[in-house]
Symmetry: C2
């Protein structure tokens, strides 16, 4: 075990953590290869569940599955909660339904519902009725995955306004087994209607005979089960909430969302943005095969190809113009690159404003006006530099540009026009997408960039045929 | 007030929240215009502090400043904590140092240090010594902003392992004024060395004469003051922590980071990625003038321009080739667009993997191999489609492509080569940037895209002059 102990050295910055790194993965692989079950489990015991999950993802899948089989029911459940859907499903493929049931029973209901949803239908049908919280889990499965109902759990402590502090404390104790992390008690009346909230700190510091009604905060923020998860994240983030009660259409308390669920949502949302910008589908996990990856990326590439072919067609249409002055071709990549850059800059600001809730539809025209002014400024600077460059090159090697003055005017005018069009495009499209229910981040993706190429090239060649020739 | 009451209707989804929307902003502006201070403050009283902050940001700046002056010291401090740096500094510009001191005194030390750091140096020098927690704040100001020390506060409850539960509860009570939200008690010895942690729930449910030593969890995760804030975010996120103790180089407890601080870090990190991808500087706030925005975006545009000019030069170099076959020009935007798309797809996956900590340097070559295979697949599909397209077009209008077979081979070979190079580039550059201490997200930005254009065009024209001519 000497080498495994040494790994924890050099890790002095993070007290209490055994780092999962390549060294550890190699060591565990070696132990698995020599079938040293006891040694492996010893190391596992020093790791937190999220680290075991990371370790599994870095092991060859067969070894990971073998290791997972060795874990206790409780450990296996903790680890499972940390893995993503696809991996989880694969890992459980050859596990007996009885063990799956036992593992899921250890989970909070929200995680239980998630795991169950990942199982093949026939296995899920077999497992669900056997669960301790079958009813709760069944109900959670009924909510859409990306809503408050879909991410909430049914683990919460609810107390009546007429209870005393001592009685409420007893209620916390009674639920301690299932509700492992209590941050606040939800106060509800006989009809389960949410009436207030009491922080654990408040409960701890109040006299034991005080009524909950007198110490609760009646001004409680809650969400309905059908609220979108991104809205839930924004609310918890904005109001610094650690746990948020969820109510049904009749205002009855049905669940609790905790901050860790919401951090996952924020992270997912950010990753989704990057995927939309880059044209990568969600499915591309670390264990995906090259064929799966290829298939996930191809649709986006084909959309890009279609657009690029239209760009190419624009040039084809103006082939006559190009034949008369082949020097025009040098500016093609400049027109497309600069239009794309300007559009993406402007779109990025709109996307962020919309996603943070700081930009409203009403801000649209004010924003567009300002963006056009910015475009004009930056377009002029770019145009001036390019004109100077053309005239300079003509001094160095006269005649290489035919009529350099006219070329400079053509390129300069094109730049300013392309900047204004592309920037307006970048400022407007995110709002338009939002309005159509499409994620505004798509406006930074290949589709819109290609659209800009088409517009930019058309502007360029029209100006060229009017001015340069 | 009729119209203001009506605003809360239709907002049934979110119990307990008065929505800040355009309607509310208009109403408040009208009230401010007619100087109805009482009415305005009435509406303010119904809003949570983060909503007042949002309202301010949507008001014309002068009105916002007037409204801010009307707020009580406590309210003003809550609102201030929710605003971003630049706006905060502007808002405090004409406030008297005495009021600034009073406002800062209401803040937690981490927010106090942030606000102080935003003030002009002479004002800060005047305010700091007057603060109740002057010493703590001074110390916090000494840490780098983006480290654990820079985001931690000094509000925490520390107890000794030999204390009883009753004594510890008394300690929570003694600190209730300054530490408004306690989630867990940190256990430290005489030398302030961190020994464990006790959740509030555990404290509540333990007998009052039990020793802290016997109920604490000695297996506590902590960070040193110099740990990067993104690392802190990853740790709190991975281990589902609500509060995290911060220790100094001697393992002595010096602060606490709470989950809301870390959510801000996660959000900032995601926004930073989008900015790097799009080439927008951090300074572009909602109140920035067009000139400020223009200045922030220009450097990126100029880098893009420089690169695009090199792309243009590549074409210029091959002008002779183009003159012989102007049909080649049509494929310029296809080569650049597809290379860019493929590179960004591959880079996005690497960027996400690096940022989540799931991709390691050791995974690099395995990944590059798989990416090259994906590139080969997608390059072949794209090449086949383009070749088919060229041959089809030649059937429709014979002669428009000179020798269509050779053109198809040129374009096809170029596509496969460009895909492989661009994808490898996209897979490698994020790791290289990471290694150089640059944010890997830059690999999706204008600089690398332009580099791809240059490589792609060179490949294309070299193949064209070898095969097509």
């Amino acid at each position: 075990m000497a080498e495994i102990v040494s790994m924890t050295e050099g890790q002095e910055r993070l007290a209490g953590l055994l780092e999962v790194d390549e060294q550890l993965v190699d060591d565990i692989t070696a132990l698995l290869d020599s079938d040293q079950r006891g040694m492996v489990l010893n190391v596992m015991a020093d790791l937190y569940a999220p680290d075991v999950a990371r370790l599994l993802r870095h092991l060859p899948f067969d070894e990971a599955r073998r290791l997972f089989h060795w874990l206790s029911t409780e450990r296996a459940s903790e680890v499972l909660a940390e893995l993503d859907s696809g991996y989880r499903a694969a890992l459980l493929e050859e596990v007996r339904p009885e063990r799956i049931t036992a593992i899921i029973d250890e989970l909070d209901t929200d995680d239980a519902a998630d795991v169950l949803a990942d199982l093949p239908a026939e296995v899920a049908r077999q497992v669900l009725p056997e669960l301790e919280d079958a009813e709760d889990v069944q109900e959670l499965l009924g909510y859409r995955e990306d809503t408050a109902g879909g991410i909430m759990g049914t683990e919460y402590v609810a107390v009546h306004p007429d209870m005393t502090v001592a009685e409420a404390t007893e209620e916390v104790r009674r639920n301690a087994e299932t509700v492992e992390e209590v941050f606040a008690l939800f106060v509800a009346d006989e009809q389960d209607r949410l009436k207030g909230v009491v922080s654990l700190q408040r409960l701890l510091l109040s006299p034991s005979d005080a009524r909950i009604r007198t110490i609760m905060d009646p001004d409680v923020i809650s969400v309905r089960t059908d609220v979108d998860q991104e809205e839930v994240a924004r609310i918890m983030e904005r109001y610094d909430l650690i746990s948020l009660p969820v109510v049904d259409a009749g205002d009855r308390l049905v669940g609790r969302i905790t901050i860790d669920d919401v951090i996952d949502v924020i992270r997912e949302e950010a990753e989704e943005d990057i995927r939309l910008i880059s044209g990568v589908s969600a499915a591309e996990g670390p264990s995906a095969s090259a064929f799966q990856i290829s298939r996930g990326r191809l649709p986006w590439l084909l959309v890009g190809l279609l657009g690029a072919t239209v760009s190419g067609t624009v040039i084809k249409v103006f082939e006559g113009t190009l034949e008369q002055a082949v020097a025009l071709a040098s500016f093609i990549p400049i027109v497309t690159a600069m239009g794309g850059n300007a559009a993406v800059q402007s779109a990025a600001i709109a996307v962020q404003g919309i996603s943070s809730g700081d930009l409203w539809m009403g801000d649209l025209w004010k924003r567009v006006g300002r963006e056009m002014f910015v475009a004009l400024l930056n377009g002029l600077v770019t145009a001036a530099l390019l004109c100077g460059f053309i005239l300079l090159l003509d001094q160095v090697g006269p005649g290489s540009f035919g009529n350099p003055g006219r070329l400079a005017i053509t390129v300069g005018l094109t730049m300013v026009t392309v900047f204004v069009l592309a920037t307006t495009n970048g400022a407007l499209v995110p709002f338009a997408l939002k309005h159509m229910g499409i994620d505004p981040a798509s406006s930074m993706g290949p589709f819109v960039t290609t659209l800009n190429d088409i517009i930019g090239l058309t502007v360029y060649f029209v100006f060229a045929s009017l001015i340069y020739l």
